[in-house]
Symmetry: C2
């Protein structure tokens, strides 16, 4: 396999062979491919695309670049959910215990937040002592024993993905559907899943801003999964306003725990149930969507899901006081209540996810660069929801931060995010499609 | 200027700003741009293109990466010719003295051959003791004193071009018209030319195989020159059969000297005159094409051009015996006469330049990689021309080599290159267009 011929083939819009793709990914490791050659190929792929067979070959080669997990008794009951990221998206924290308490096992490998989108790992780490850096063996043992675990990316699974992602990040080649597909699916393939459910978010607060590109990603994930023999169901969900009433790390953990205790906001529950239904069906746990939904509701209302969360918290060393009194995590030194101005009243017609995400980021909840630290307690709580009727003086949100100087700018961003009009907005569906 | 934004802009098909282009080229030098970032941008340019303004900005930034020559009294009479490369293309060796003996000064900076195409430097170096590695100061002084000099690329002129070319060579980004334009023109701009005449070759033996891509390159060169304020005239010439009757380094020098002595093959003279006319007009030396043509013919027939060649040879240290007895350069230990087979006779309807170039390469005249050495005496002489009527036993060419083992394969390639048919071929124009 000649490197320049591989690059030239993709440059000219041709299909790469399995051998060419595997030579590339092996070449990342043995340095027979220089980074500038990978960068040229990444740009050619970004502009020319790859079909499902090429994407599957790339995914497989990346999964084979490291350890691949095996599960005793097969992987039929091993399911995971992955989201393309949004604002206020604490669904994983609720969904993993919800599904695990129904039978399937959920080995979740999550990421950190970047920019205005949060990351599940950062959220969990706002719980004192919670460990997300388990070894692969500890991770597997916990999943088998407790039914679930949520950890960070490990160096041993799909290391080629780390290499490629670092290169894509600095060469403007992140925005490529086949590369996004291969990056997500390679880690899931290496984790030995039996099935994957994807939450492809679409809207101002999501990576995919418009419906056509979100649809294209969802379709590519499903198509690639089919070639790989890894069942992938993709749900397309709206991300025009934040999910739930909190944004930020500790604020979202508090809301997730309250949800597991039976007091969750309807939009978040709707997304969690929609994804949970797909996971139970994919695991063969239930036969119909209705039956799956019933199992999930039961798991929530009996407290089984909350218990499952507690077992994970215990196993991963987190402070169990948080289960009894989650609100104590909201300990930011500065808070500000933002209220409807005196002259205004009407219906909230929009709560722009991107602007709210930026406000949370400004307060300290997000990071601009991968190496930045986050402020656990920073963010927003009691955020008003689209469709609510409000009058002068009513609460729009509470801001939390340890940097008082950011409050004014964050309030400005929040106010710009919220639109109030005399007429109620048309209802907007949350689940847009499924693949 | 943010690097990722520059790459993303071109990825998305946008026009790069002057500041973005200059940041990139400066970044090559100070390493603020990593090679993988340049490679990604090169691929984006290859697939998305650049307009004349961007190409001119890139050319200028590359020229500014090193020394820029100034000529006392202005550059009006400083002209050069550059060819995109072909098989048997020894035109520079004839054209430089031809034009210089008419008045303008010709500072030629030439390249080496690669693959099946020859390079002027390799040809000149088949003359014992001929030096092509003059310093820039020596080069300029010789041009002023003798009217011409032909040297190799120097490190001090347009060093960014060397960096970029090395990167393009290993990232499948050589085939990009704006990048080719900028590479050629940056060196010419740095040499302080008053005008440039381009010979854009088109056909099997050329870099541009088809007319549309050759036209696009010629047009881009002319357009970019206009934005730069550097007059560029481009001639489109056919490269389906080799120019003249020789291919290889010493064989071509011998033919060039014989041409300057009044015994040149008509196709080579036609191309030399066409280019020479444009050079004299560009230098303001003559007012009309007819007058220019007359001056060139006179320079050839009076021996003025031959004398000019002799002055260059003397100034650059070459063995002057070569002027008296050029054929002594044809000293390869093994030769083979290839003749028309017994059963065949008719008209030569094709002499494929690419195949003949490959035969010469096999005999030792070319290099596969930039670091390979060439065999000066290797190549072909007395090559039959398209349109010739031949009968059994008549000479098709003489092969020259120091590796006897290559003769059989080279003969096979040569025979495959030559087609003989009962009917004479239609006349094929040599000069296809001008820009």
């Amino acid at each position: 396999v000649k490197i320049a011929e591989t690059i030239a083939a993709k440059r000219d819009g041709q299909e790469l062979t399995t051998a060419q793709i595997s030579d590339w990914i092996c070449g990342l490791k043995d340095n027979s491919w220089a980074d500038y050659q990978s960068a040229a190929l990444l740009m050619a792929i970004t502009l020319r695309g790859m079909n499902a067979r090429e994407t599957a070959d790339l995914t497989r080669a990346m999964a084979d670049s490291g350890e691949r997990l095996r599960w005793d008794g097969g992987n039929l009951q091993i399911v995971d959910k992955h989201s393309t990221g949004g604002v206020g998206d604490k669904v994983s924290l609720i969904l993993a215990p919800l599904v695990a308490s129904c039978g399937p096992k959920v080995p979740m490998i999550s990421g950190r937040g970047l920019g205005h989108t949060g990351g599940t790992l950062d959220k969990l780490e706002s719980i004192p002592e919670f460990r997300t850096d388990l070894s692969v063996a500890q991770f597997q043992a916990q999943v088998v024993r407790e039914g679930l675990a949520i950890i960070g990316q490990t160096r041993s699974l799909a290391p080629a993905d780390r290499r490629l992602y670092a290169l894509r990040d600095v060469t403007a080649t992140v925005e490529s559907i086949p590369l996004i597909c291969a990056s997500i699916l390679s880690k899931k393939l290496a984790a030995g899943l039996g099935a994957l459910v994807m939450d492809v978010k679409c809207g101002s607060g999501a990576f995919m801003k418009d419906l056509p590109s979100a649809r294209a990603l969802a379709q590519a994930l499903a198509d690639t999964g089919k070639v790989l023999g890894l069942p992938v169901r993709a749900i397309l969900s709206a991300m025009d306003e934040p999910l739930g009433e909190t944004v930020g790390n500790a604020p979202e953990v508090v809301e997730a725990i309250q949800t597991l205790q039976g007091e969750g906001p309807p939009d978040m529950l709707e997304v969690a149930y929609a994804l949970g239904v797909e996971m139970l069906l994919a695991a063969g746990q239930t036969k119909s969507p209705a039956e799956a939904r019933l199992s999930l509701e039961r798991a929530l209302h009996t407290g089984a899901a909350f218990e499952s969360f507690g077992r994970m918290l215990h196993a991963q060393g987190g402070d169990e006081q948080v289960l009894k009194n989650p609100a104590k995590l909201l300990n930011a030194p500065h808070t500000r209540e933002v209220r409807v101005p005196p002259e205004a009243s009407g219906y909230v017609t929009a709560v722009d996810a991107l602007e709210v995400g930026r406000a949370a980021c400004l307060l300290g909840a997000g990071r601009q660069r991968a190496e930045d630290a986050v402020d656990s307690a920073a963010g927003l709580s009691r955020l008003v929801k689209r469709g609510t009727h409000v009058t002068a003086g009513q609460l729009l949100a509470v801001l939390h931060t340890s940097k008082a100087a950011t409050l004014d700018s964050a309030e400005k961003l929040l106010r710009a995010a919220i639109r109030i009009a005399p007429e109620p907005p048309n209802p907007a569906p949350l689940i847009l499609d499924s693949y």
